[in-house]
Subunit: 426 residues, 2 copies
């Protein structure tokens, strides 16, 4: 018992110390020129390449532990690093070097009648806590996006990738040192003690924002426990709605892509809504293509009549993010009923309408309350890279601060600089 | 005991119901045209004028209770409504009618190489909870700013202004009805039961953001307890720093204005920092003008030598928002020491440097981490109206979402509308 108490006190002290060091580093980073930040990133990419053997050795330890715990194929694959994947980590760091530094951008200027000149200038958020699961490359992605946007990062990786993440992190720190930036610009917190996450969520004195990336359980815990503002990345229960005026060919190819291009990403479609008026023709065409390619169909009563191979969907299906080759399918009576279904069961992530009717499309784009609303294209475009924003740390489903893809600019705040010549307020 | 439990259950049910109704209203408001929102505001201003007698009768009840509780002069003055103040409430609603509606603004468009057209469009946040103290006019200000920006508002006034706020709120609701908008667009929650605030802070299913306006105690409680994202309006420990290259005349007039124009607002200066190199000449000139006008001076040892009428400042003084005719004064060694002092004791609100040295000014504007940084002007300009933003709900001192004055645009979010012609992601 005494041991446990001591360890809790130690973790609290350790996290306070990590917070303080991050805050101090962030003050330096906020003023660091773009060239110095880019030098650190370029050096880090080189260190990743030089450290390849050490990273693979560390990754082997994580893999052995995971296999010992009986982890499944997809999980193991997410964890695995090889030469090509390590090179991809280095390359993606170099891609971020090429992105424009958002810090110092003047977003707006105005001169007031009294002669005051007011500029709204982009500044870093400060210290960003990123909590994520499984994929070890996120250690580099998240740390590097925070750094380029002038923020200090406190990273907490999943325990299953602890060795790999530590090896990657060591390369990032060497890059920081080579460029003369504080080592505490990117810190990785211990995974052995789960109470470290709880402490991180209470560090409101030092941490400006928490970005959780992971499953529903993680996100909910973070949202419930955090004293620090959270930029939520909730689940993606994404819908495709096929309107009565849809083009059949587009409807089939977009739905197929939205569901099956990749099933494990947050922008993959989970529910298909089909307008009753064209369901007789469209539903069998779309569903047979999906089923022929290994997708399980869970439909409402009308779908089961139109496509007898479908299983019956339960109420739970409409609110489930499968992240797998399963789709729930419902017949609705027009665009309004589709919008209502999405309002009730959606997760405000990404939803798409397929139609040739401009009025129905505009109604859907305006009335569906999601971060990304799409007309005649796949929901799998929900991605910062596809939006032309460069790398992203995730897709925000909340409305505060940033919504949709979170790239460099979304990891910033702003300040007002006011220039006068002795004005006093009347 | 059973009674108390029943009442807790009732409050929980009541708040759930308020949240649900606000959410439903917000869906309508998000799509309401500007003309309809403005019609509701114009009607509300008229109802305030027509309801003047009822508002004054209600205010008399609040005043009698407050006097019975022995409230002091300034507190009583903040609570009091008369014909002129009620007319000012109506006029300030009409001012908001004149402001541009931010909803639907296209913030950015881009066309991707694959032909996708992406628009970033301004949308309301949804449901805003505003918790405030004392001044009854905030009921109208907050409700009306939320409405114009397409948000539903749940307002919680201070118990001392409960009758006045209810009377004002009734006028707003009549305005909503006349314009055909949901009555639940602006709701006022009961003040009798303090647990209603706690319930509001847990309504994350329905409420998108909480804006607390009030003293440190209120803000801290909200930040600690809220499950809903909070847009913090912390205290304003604002500094004026007189650099060695300051113009004496500007230094005196700006400091005087920053401290004494109004002492009870968050942008009033609380601490004066004077560069050692000019402290012998400047400090006595500034401090005697402040002292002659009733300001108490609390100085460090060097100030006490230069200005013997000063009391000695304690460590606590440097972190205190007096909101009164008191100023703490310290001698510092140049702009870096001023920046360091502000980093240690400031509240990231508003700070000003007085200097004719452009390099020192730029250093201060870049390195002081506050929402508003000013060169050669009074800190009392920290105000949305003075920034040309129209009315404000307050000054945000956090970095997430909005920073500095929070007006209509800062009460919004955005969504991405993507228009395609059948694109699927490779």
């Amino acid at each position: 018992m005494e041991n446990r108490l001591n360890s809790e006190v130690d973790i609290e002290r350790l996290m306070q110390d990590i917070g303080k060091r991050a805050k101090a580093a962030s003050a330096k980073l906020a003023l660091a020129p773009t060239t110095q930040k880019n030098a650190a990133l370029t050096a880090a990419a080189n260190e990743i390449r030089l450290g390849k053997d050490a990273i693979i050795t560390a990754n082997n330890k994580d893999m052995a532990i995971a296999e010992g715990r009986g982890l499944k194929g997809a999980m193991i694959d997410r964890l695995m690093l090889d030469d090509a994947r390590i090179e991809a980590i280095a390359t993606s760091i170099e891609d971020i070097v090429e992105l424009k530094d958002p810090i110092g951008d003047v977003l707006e200027t105005r001169e007031r009648p009294n002669g005051l000149e007011i500029s709204k200038v982009r500044v870093p958020l400060g210290v960003i806590g990123v909590i994520f699961e499984s994929r070890p490359n996120v250690t580099a992605d998240a740390g590097v996006l925070c750094l380029k946007s002038g923020n200090a990062a406190i990273l907490r990786c999943g325990s299953e990738s602890a060795h790999s993440s530590r090896a990657i992190h060591a390369c990032l720190v060497r890059g920081l040192k080579e460029a003369g930036l504080p080592e505490a610009s990117i810190q990785l917190i211990p995974t052995q003690d789960r109470s470290a996450v709880g402490e991180l969520l209470r560090l409101s004195e030092y941490v400006d924002i928490i970005v959780p990336r992971g499953g529903k359980g993680l996100i909910e815990r973070v949202q419930n426990d955090s004293r620090v503002p959270v930029m939520a990345h909730l689940d993606g229960i994404c819908h495709v709605y096929i309107d009565e005026s849809a083009d059949l060919e587009k409807a089939v190819s977009v739905t197929y892509n939205a569901k099956l291009r990749r099933t494990g990403i947050c922008g993959s479609a989970e529910t298909l809504l089909v307008d009753e008026k064209i369901s007789g023709e469209f539903a069998p065409a779309i569903l047979s293509k999906l089923a022929d390619n290994g997708c399980e169909i869970r439909g409402d009563k009308k779908i089961m009549e139109l496509f007898p191979a479908a299983k019956e969907a339960t109420e739970e299906d409409w609110g489930t993010e499968y992240l797998d080759a399963i789709i729930s399918v419902r017949v609705v009576n027009g665009v309004q009923e589709a919008i209502d279904h999405i309002a009730e069961y959606g997760s405000n992530h990404t939803d798409s309408i397929i139609t040739e009717d401009a009025a129905a499309a505009e109604k859907f784009l305006n009335e569906v309350d999601s971060a990304i609303v799409i007309h005649n294209a796949s929901t799998q475009y929900a991605d910062g890279g596809e939006f032309g924003m460069g790398a992203e740390i995730g897709i925000s489903t909340g409305k505060m601060h940033a919504r949709g893809p979170v790239g460099l600019a979304e990891l910033t705040s702003y300040k007002y600089q006011v220039r006068g010549n002795g004005q006093v307020r009347p």
